[in-house]
Symmetry: C2
Subunit: 343 residues, 2 copies
DNA sequence: TCAACTAATTGAATCGTTTCAATAGAACAA
DNA sequence: TTGTTCTATTGAAACGATTCAATTAGTTGA
């Protein structure tokens, strides 16, 4: 037996029921001031009666553009990105746009498939926190007419807009703080270095050590991911090594890693934080303050990144002639808590 | 001066360049096996050369349905919902769907505007964690032909599918655990009671107290939101009261509240957890384990909720004749950590 | 009463796909 | 040669909105 599934009413059906032409219905929807009030009334009644809902695909097809933006993030379950998404979504709502979210899971092919999807959907533009070097992709998209703004990564002004946080400065701030606490054997925990953010934080950290007059050293403990689990593994390895080999401070490339390290130190071993080893993270996610030892961190304005990116994208979409590509760099901020407070 | 903005190439342009008809190009795109291999080659070359990207609006208009699903959550920056979203998104990708995310921020009008938007977009279906009673909305949408699955809330089978967690059981488990630890003056922290989840957890908690043979009591401390901030305020108020009035255990309606309470107890006051007051939360977000005092909690399978909801929605969309509405209820799980471990 | 104007309404054309009946062409048999 | 079966390709029609030139109705002034 055939599926009954009655078709949705179209603007035609509304026109017929209201006894007007389809052009008039369209005007009621889009330019009500051009239509006589009682005609508006008749049409409204018909719309109600039929449960008519405008078909956005048809509208978009005619208009050629859409009020939807695409957002591709590395990992939505990471609080930094969920804040960013939240900021983006709020800014979009402001300008009457909506946001389609794609989660690339650090995976280039998923990233690519979201970009392709968004392009087919003819989104107004795309905000992306790229997995990897992304200039070619951005250039290609832009060449075909899709606007792209890059967040959390700097790209060349010739290519497009980008909003980022100065990760080198952040790395420097973190290590300068550790040095100021009298720490000298510093370990940077993070990876992979293909993440520009991680490389920059390490670079900042290294430069701070180099610039200091002390005999401080820094070594890099690589991780495969920026997750709590990865941090826990590193923490366990450190705790298991002989005490003389311990660093006296750890700078983790993000808070999730730092939290993992803390967990290992507290549960599996008897490492005292910050007395034996101080720990500082990066991102200042909402839980840094509530961590087992309240965690010092470098605060990034995640929601602001998201909303600024959307604002710039909307500007580019709506006034392409006025728009000039810009690179905005926010400065991060040191947040000191117990995990690094000198004894 | 006019904006140059060259139009995107259409299937027509591709056909012209490749020297074939537009129907053939369409076949290359959708049924390549029907087309001679060297024709496919010619067309592929033309597509490449022009940078042709299929216009999904046109395709959707013709097809009448889309491969996009809508997801409306209460608060994406809450880890429970970001896990849920992640699960939904993964399940959708599996079935070649993509997910548009809407954030209702506990706000009925934002919820409504997302539902309207999704309906105009003719999404394949909607997964929603409703702010409030939602039966009428769901019935209305369904009546107009949009499939809806409700998550994190039970609705009647006559109305549609829903996936939820048994919050009454969860509330009961939490309080039974507290009672088993010898606690008797229990406070339930949470609100507003308009959230069915909160009301259910309280109901479960109350029933556990009632069923116990002990002289235990429970009182309800209302909050306006389920956030860390709200929890901190409650914690401060309790710590500031005279010690004889303190509860000896707190059951918070979610982990964020519990974390806030812990923060207040640790930083602003000298309340010992769990010796003075035990604390248990709800959701078992990733940070419960890493909290300042590792937090006992009731675990909800958030990602599983999301993926199951999407699976059911896809089933309903793709095989409406086979589909039967179902109500799936997952059982929560008690996770015991230091914050409630008897001295 | 007619011209001149404004306000309201009309409906054909358009956007870019997919679909499908019709056609062309090739291969083979009789 | 003619007929039969294939396979490959064609192109008109349809989806449902928006747009805009054309039309109709209504008002005013002379």
């Amino acid at each position: 037996m055939p599926i009954p599934k009655k078709p949705r009413p179209s603007i035609q059906d509304v026109a017929r029921l209201a006894g007007v032409s389809l052009g008039t219905v369209s005007n009621v929807l889009n330019n009500p001031e051009r239509v006589k009030p009682d005609t508006v009334g008749k049409v409204a009644k018909a719309i109600d009666q039929l449960g008519f809902v405008r078909n956005d695909a048809a509208r978009q097809l005619k208009a050629g553009r859409s009020k939807t933006l695409g957002l591709v993030v590395l990992d939505i379950s990471n609080p930094f990105f969920s804040s960013l998404a939240r900021g983006a979504e709020d800014a979009a709502a402001q300008g009457n746009y909506s946001v389609i979210l794609g989660n690339s899971s650090d995976d280039l092919s998923r990233e690519a498939s979201y970009m392709a999807l968004f392009e087919e959907q003819r989104v107004g533009g795309i905000v992306i926190s790229p997995v990897d070097g992304v200039s070619e992709t951005v250039t290609a998209l832009r060449g075909r007419g899709t606007n792209v703004v890059v967040v959390d990564r700097h790209i060349d002004a010739a290519i497009g807009c980008s909003i980022s946080v100065d990760d080198i400065a952040g790395g420097r701030m973190a290590v300068e703080h550790l040095l100021a606490q009298g720490k000298t054997k510093i370990a940077f925990v993070g990876g992979p270095l293909e993440f520009q953010q991680v490389a920059d934080r390490l670079a900042g950290a290294t430069s701070a050590v180099a610039a200091s007059s002390s005999k401080a050293t820094i070594k890099h403990i690589k991780t495969k991911a920026l997750s709590v689990i990865a941090g826990r593994e590193v923490g366990e390895a450190i705790a298991a090594s002989t005490k003389s080999e311990w660093p006296d401070a750890i700078f983790a490339a993000n808070d999730l890693l730092a939290v993992g390290v803390l967990q290992a130190f507290m549960f599996k071993a008897q490492v005292r934080v910050p007395q034996d080893i101080a720990v500082i993270g990066y991102d200042d996610i909402a839980f840094a303050e509530a961590a087992i030892v309240p965690l010092s961190s470098i605060r990034q304005p995640a929601a602001l990144l998201g909303s600024t990116a959307v604002d710039m994208l909307v500007e580019e979409v709506e006034s392409p002639s006025v728009h000039k590509h810009r690179q905005i760099t926010f400065q991060p901020e040191l947040v000191v808590r117990e995990s690094t407070l000198g004894v």
